[in-house]
C-alpha cells in the first residue's frame, strides 16, 4: 500500500514551518494561481475534485462552498475547524505542526474562492504547541505580503469537544457557551454573526492548494471515484507502530494495521477495531478486508468518520470500553437537549451496573432502549455519537455483556487492560447535573 502524501508532502525531510522552506517546495504558488482566476472558477475546481470533508461528515467541500448565500450585503466568513477532539484523532495537530503554511495557503485560496476577507481558525484550546507554530507562520505570511486583503484570526478554544460541531463552534466563536443551534438556517445562509459562513476541517482546507495547483479533475482521479484523494489516518491503541499515515482513500484496513502499523504487540489477538474515532461503530476482525473509504466503511456497517483507527486487543473488556467511551460523551454533552444530557448519564449508570455485575437481565434491554431514545432526537450528532456505538458494542459482543450478568461481575476478573480507568466526568461536566436516584 502506497503512502501518498499531499497534505504532509515533504514534511518528513524539511522544516516546513519555515516560510522559505515551504516556498522552496512550491508553496504559495497555488495562491498566486488562484488569485489570477475568477472566484467562481476556483469553486468549479473544488466541485470537480469531489473533495469530501475530512472532519468526519464527509460532505463534498465544493458543494458546501457553492451553497453560500450571495448578495446578502453581509460579509462572508470562512471558519476553519481546528478543534480536533474526536477520541483517537490527532491528524490536524500534526498537519498544523509540520505544515502550517499549507493550511494558511488553503485558507487564502478558499477565501478568494468564496470572496471572503475574514477567516477564523478555531483552534483547540489545549493545542498550545500548535498555537505557537501557527501564530509564527501567520506572522511570517503577513510580513511576506501574502495575505492580500484577508485577515486570519487564530481563535483558541478552552476545552469542549462539542465546539468541533460546526454550529457550536460558531456559538463559541461569538463568545457564548458552545451549544449547537437548530438548523435550518444552515451556516451557508446564516452562520457567524448571522452571515453566510463556510466551515471546513483543517485537512480539507489544507488539501485545497493541491487541487488548484493540479486541477480538480486530476484530484478526482486519485483514489476511488466516490471518495478521491488522501486522508491522514490516525492509528492508535494496541498496535506496534501507532502514528499518522497519509494514504489514498480506499487503502486496506488490514494493511494499515499489519503492514504499516506492525500488527498487535505482545503476541496478543486483535479483538475489535474502531475505524473513525470513538463516535463510529465498532468493527470486528472478520472485517479486516474492508477498504478505508467513505462508502466501503459504510457498507461494512460503520463510518470512516475522522479516519482515527483505534486498535483493540483481546485484553480489553468491551463493557469497560463501552463505559469509558460513554463517560466521554456524558462529560462532553453540552446539556442543551434532554435526550443527550440525560441519556448519556443513564447509559453510564447502566453500563457501570453491568460492569459491576449488579445489572438485572432487563437492564441490558433498558440500555438499548435508552440508546434508541437518544438516536436522532437531538439538535446535533453528539447524542448519536454516544448511543450508536453502544448499540453496536452490545450487538457484536453480546456474549461478553451477558456474562457480566450471568457471572455477577466482570469475566476478566480485574485483568482487563481498561480495568478501573478513571474518567474526567467525575471532576467536571459542561452541563450542570443534579443527582437523582438511579
Amino acid at each position: 500500500m502506497a503512502i501518498r502524501e499531499l497534505t504532509l508532502a515533504h514534511a518528513g525531510e524539511r522544516d516546513l514551518s519555515k516560510l522559505a522552506e515551504y516556498q522552496a517546495i512550491g508553496g504559495y504558488k497555488a495562491l498566486a494561481k488562484a488569485r489570477k482566476m475568477k472566484p467562481e472558477a476556483v469553486v468549479e475546481q473544488l466541485l470537480a475534485s469531489n473533495l469530501r470533508g475530512r472532519g468526519g461528515a464527509g460532505f463534498p467541500m465544493g458543494r458546501k462552498a457553492s451553497f453560500l448565500a450571495k448578495g446578502t450585503g453581509k460579509p462572508t466568513y470562512l471558519c476553519v475547524n481546528a478543534d480536533e477532539s474526536e477520541p483517537g484523532t490527532f491528524k490536524d495537530r500534526e498537519i498544523m505542526l509540520l505544515n502550517p503554511h499549507r493550511l494558511i495557503e488553503g485558507c487564502l485560496v478558499t477565501a478568494h474562492a468564496i470572496e471572503s476577507q475574514n477567516v477564523f481558525i478555531y483552534l483547540r484550546g489545549e493545542y498550545l504547541d500548535v498555537f505557537e507554530v501557527m501564530r509564527r507562520a501567520l506572522e511570517d505570511a503577513r510580513k511576506a505580503g501574502l495575505m492580500g486583503d484577508v485577515t486570519i484570526v487564530l481563535h483558541r478554544g478552552a476545552g469542549a469537544y462539542i465546539c468541533g460541531e460546526e454550529s457550536a463552534l460558531l456559538e463559541s466563536l461569538e463568545g457564548k457557551r458552545g451549544q449547537p443551534r437548530p438548523r435550518p438556517p444552515f451556516p451557508a445562509v446564516s452562520g457567524l454573526y448571522g452571515s453566510p459562513t463556510l466551515i471546513n476541517n483543517v485537512q480539507t482546507i489544507a488539501t485545497v492548494p493541491v487541487i488548484v495547483e493540479k486541477g480538480g479533475e486530476w484530484y478526482a482521479k486519485i483514489g476511488p471515484e466516490p471518495s478521491p484523494g488522501t486522508v491522514v489516518f490516525s492509528l492508535s491503541g494496541n498496535v506496534e507502530r501507532p502514528g499518522n499515515y497519509e494514504l489514498l482513500l480506499g487503502s486496506g484496513l488490514r494493511e494499515l494495521i499489519y503492514d504499516l502499523g506492525g500488527g498487535i504487540p505482545d503476541g496478543r489477538e486483535l479483538k475489535a477495531i474502531i475505524p473513525g474515532g470513538s463516535s463510529t461503530t465498532v468493527m470486528t476482525p472478520d472485517q479486516l478486508d474492508t477498504d478505508l473509504d467513505f462508502n466501503s466503511v459504510a457498507e461494512a456497517g460503520s463510518q470512516l468518520g475522522a479516519a482515527a483507527v483505534i486498535v483493540i486487543d483481546d485484553r480489553a473488556c468491551m463493557v469497560q470500553l463501552a463505559l469509558r467511551s460513554t463517560q466521554f460523551y456524558m462529560h462532553e454533552s453540552c446539556g442543551k437537549c434532554t435526550p443527550c444530557r440525560e441519556g448519556t448519564r443513564w447509559m453510564v449508570q447502566l453500563l457501570q451496573k453491568l460492569e459491576d455485575g449488579r445489572a438485572e437481565q432487563s437492564e441490558l434491554d433498558l440500555l438499548l432502549s435508552v440508546c434508541d431514545r437518544v438516536l436522532g432526537k437531538c439538535l446535533c450528532a453528539l447524542g448519536d455519537f454516544a448511543a450508536g456505538p453502544v448499540v453496536e458494542y452490545v450487538r457484536n459482543f453480546r456474549d461478553e455483556f451477558q456474562r457480566h450478568i450471568d457471572e455477577g461481575g466482570c469475566p476478566f476478573g480485574g485483568e482487563s487492560s481498561l480495568e478501573g480507568t478513571f474518567a474526567p466526568v467525575d471532576q467536571h461536566t459542561h452541563a450542570p447535573v443534579a443527582e437523582v436516584p438511579a
Binding site: S85, T89, H155, G175, G178, G237, T421, F422, D426
Partner: protein, 154 residues
C-alpha cells in the same frame, strides 16, 4: 488586569463578545491559573458586558477554572487510546507521587492532578499534559522523574 490587552483582542472581532474567551484565558493567567469572581467582573467591565454573560461562558469550558488550582497542573489522558496502553497506571503513579486523587490539589497548593479526555496525542500514548505542555509518551516509570523535575524547578 491588562485592559489594553483585552481591548486589543476585542478589535480582532466584529463583535466584542467574541473576545470573552481569549480575555478569560488572559485573566486566568494573571490570577494564578483560575478565575476568582473579581476576574469575571474585570473581563465584563473591560468588554462592557454583564458579569453573568461572562460567567456563563467561563463555567462551560473545561480549561477555565472557577476554583483555585495548584501551581502546577498535571493532566493525564484516560480516553480509549491512552487507556488501552496503560493510562490508569500512569494516573495512579501520579496519585502516589503527588499524594492527591484526580480532581484534587495538594495541601501545599503546588499540584493539581486531573484526568482529561482525549488530548489529541493518541499515537504517542500515554499523553500527559504538564502546565499546558504535552509529554508523550509517558510510562508509569517516567512519573517519579517528572514530579522530581517539577519540584526541583520551583
Amino acid at each position: 488586569m491588562n485592559l489594553d490587552a483585552i481591548a486589543a483582542i476585542a478589535t480582532e472581532y466584529p463583535e466584542r463578545q467574541s473576545a470573552i474567551l481569549p480575555a478569560l484565558r488572559l485573566a486566568q493567567e494573571e490570577h494564578g491559573g483560575w478565575l476568582p469572581p473579581e476576574a469575571i467582573r474585570e473581563v465584563a467591565d473591560a468588554l462592557d458586558l454583564a458579569p453573568a454573560q461572562v460567567e456563563a461562558v467561563a463555567s462551560f469550558y473545561d480549561m477555565l477554572h472557577l476554583a483555585p488550582v495548584g501551581k502546577h497542573m498535571v493532566e493525564v489522558c484516560t480516553n480509549l487510546s491512552c487507556a488501552l496502553v496503560g493510562a490508569q497506571q500512569v494516573l495512579q503513579a501520579f496519585e502516589e507521587q503527588l499524594g492527591v486523587a484526580p480532581g484534587e490539589t495538594s495541601e501545599d497548593g503546588r499540584f493539581t492532578l486531573r484526568a482529561i479526555e482525549c488530548a489529541g496525542g493518541c499515537g504517542r500514548a500515554v499523553v500527559v499534559v504538564v502546565d499546558e505542555r504535552y509529554r508523550e509518551p509517558v510510562r508509569p516509570e517516567d512519573v517519579p522523574g517528572i514530579v522530581e523535575e517539577l519540584k526541583r524547578g520551583d
